[in-house]
Amino acid sequence: MTATPAPKEASKAATRQRPGSDPTEDAQPMMRRVKTKLTSKWATAAAIIIAVVWSVPTFGLFVTSFRPAAKQVGPRSNGWWNAFVDWDFTFKNYADVLTPAGSQSANLSQYFVNSIAIVIPVTIFVLVLASMAAYVFAWGKFKGRDALFIFVFALQIIPLQMALIPLLQFFTQTLHLPAGSYAQLWIAHTMFGLPLGIFLLHNFISEIPGEVIEAARVDGAGHSTIFWRIILPLSVPALASLAIFQFLWVWNDLLVALVFSGGTADVAPITQRLAEISGTRGARDYLNPAAAFVSIIIPLLVFFGLQRYFVRGLLSGGLKG
């Protein structure tokens, strides 16, 4: 976002949309413009239809997750929308998927903790390492800098599928990383997250005014001081949005988990457990919706809680065409 009118417009839109603030307050001139703009009723209707179609599936899952087993499967079952007519909700499904009861149990709380233990270190690793590299690509001076940067950009497009087999061999045969520990997952996710992380942060860091860095250097600050005291604090919006992205990717990942986790309750993340229990059609099918909802609750919270940064971060990177 380098164009001059754009940030103003965007920040105006952002303040206007902040939750809790009265949308009509500074929207007066905006409203006048809306009136002059050709807004058709059809467009509004189409928008509402899209919004409904997009939300119904998730809403259906949410309702289903609270329905008793007999209403979900078997002869007395019917569609989730009936729950509102014949009022019947229960927390039992959630209790069942979260607590370890017998070998058949979904035992999700263990996997839930695994997901958290995987995602937090990875997010920190990627943020620190990617911002260090991005800083050097933006402000360091060395031969072949631009070519190398393009190369890193291109790396994000190597399909993970290509990396899996050799990397697994490397981890187990060369590094002797113990199978069934978090180490393999942490390292693999960090490796895969770096190219895009560097790319996004570089776009932001390279637009920090050069005078700021020059002034610090004149005052005798070294590179590490400049990096920790100036670059990182100024990059908070970009770091926040990358952190959210990285968090969602790792939390939602299945492929890397399948290959590197070993699949035990000690290490495997919640997505993997979810894929396992939803893959086996059986008498406990009615627990899947509750299990699925447990797995999406954290990303939804992260997403709704931080989406302001999300959009701002997206604006700062990759949109300069």
């Binding site: 050709l38 899952l61 233990a117 599928q161 087999i165 560097i198 590179h223 299945l254 797995s295 300069k320």
Partner: protein
């Protein structure tokens, strides 16, 4: 809850080791003699990310390319794996499906996202409307698979339907349909899930770009008597061309790599497999790493033109700088 302690300890140890490594790098960078200080800085800041990307992406990509020319026991077999891929009916179906995915998903997601972004631009409750469509982005493919299995749920004719779509079909007098079993249209029903997820991404980026189009231009077009469609085609679309390219590229790449949706909804059965899923099946389930690698290589070759195009755009931007 005693399982949490051990896991927490692992996380803390990992973070401590990471902090120590970064600390040492910063120390070395600061203490380096003046004559080589800049070089040491570049090396120190870049080394961790560079090593991880070399080991995690570059080396595996090279190894996989070589592996693609070996058989199940690791002996070279020339182009046999590729011959298999382009002659076996199942493998051909997989390729065909991947092409359908990569054409339809970016096209549909971007169109829906763009239409929605235009429809809700400056409308009342824009933020809520945006959140509803963006929400699927925060849900894992596995979670989305479970959500949509519920939507596609099937009961025999005459029974009460539990899936929303079959319920609606029932209401208008159509026979219930087994959405995930009947080839070839079941691939389309899987694609719907991916479109559902990606539309929000397209919408958010394009909406931000639309807000960056100078209001004066739209105003001028309106004064010249352009109707809504002409304003959209001649002012808005050219104004957001860069964002459109970013969106199409990102979604295309994500689609090529898609794996989890197919894995959780049909496991690739009933003629729904795609290259990314087949790669996993061959390499990690069927004991044919050579075939898996060959499929990964094909995936890479399919992505390659997109990389080249984007690297070009990037290079141009850097030259302008």
């Amino acid at each position: 809850m005693d399982f949490i302690g051990g896991k927490l300890l692992q996380v803390v140890i990992a973070l401590a080791i990471f902090a120590a490594i970064i600390g040492i790098i910063m120390l070395v960078v600061d203490r380096a003699p003046k004559s080589v200080k800049d070089k040491v800085t570049v090396a120190g800041f870049l080394a961790p990310a560079a090593i991880l990307m070399l080991v995690g992406l570059v080396y595996p990509a090279v190894r996989t390319s070589m592996l693609a020319f070996t058989d199940a026991s690791g002996n070279g077999n020339g182009f046999d794996n590729f011959v298999w891929m382009f002659t076996q009916p199942e493998a051909l179906t997989t390729l065909r499906n991947t092409v359908i995915w990569t054409v339809l998903v970016p096209l549909l997601s971007t169109s829906f996202g763009l239409a929605y972004a235009v429809f809700i631009d400056k409308a009342r409750g824009e933020k809520v409307l945006k959140s509803l469509v963006f929400m699927p982005m925060a849900i894992s493919f596995v979670g989305a698979g479970i959500i949509w299995k519920l939507v596609y749920d099937y009961r025999g004719p005459g029974l009460e339907q539990t899936g929303v779509i079959n319920f609606l079909r029932d209401a208008v007098g159509l026979d219930p349909k087994q959405f995930l079993l009947d080839a070839p249209e079941n691939t389309i029903f899987l694609i719907v899930v991916m479109v559902w997820i990606q539309t929000g991404f397209a919408m958010v980026i394009l909406s931000a770009a639309i807000k960056g189009v100078p209001v004066e231009l739209i105003e001028a077009a309106r004064l010249d008597g352009a109707n809504a469609w002409q304003q959209f085609r001649n002012v808005t679309v050219p104004g957001i061309r860069g964002a459109l390219v970013v969106v199409l590229t990102t979604i295309t790449i994500a689609t090529l790599k898609v794996f989890d949706i197919v894995r959780t909804m049909t496991a690739g059965n009933y003629d729904t497999s795609v290259v990314a899923n087949e790669m996993y099946t061959q390499a990690f389930r069927a004991g044919e790493p050579g075939r898996g690698a060959a499929l990964a290589l094909i995936l890479f070759l399919m992505v390659l033109p997109i990389v080249v195009y984007n690297a070009r755009v990037l290079r141009k931007q850097r030259e302008i700088h």
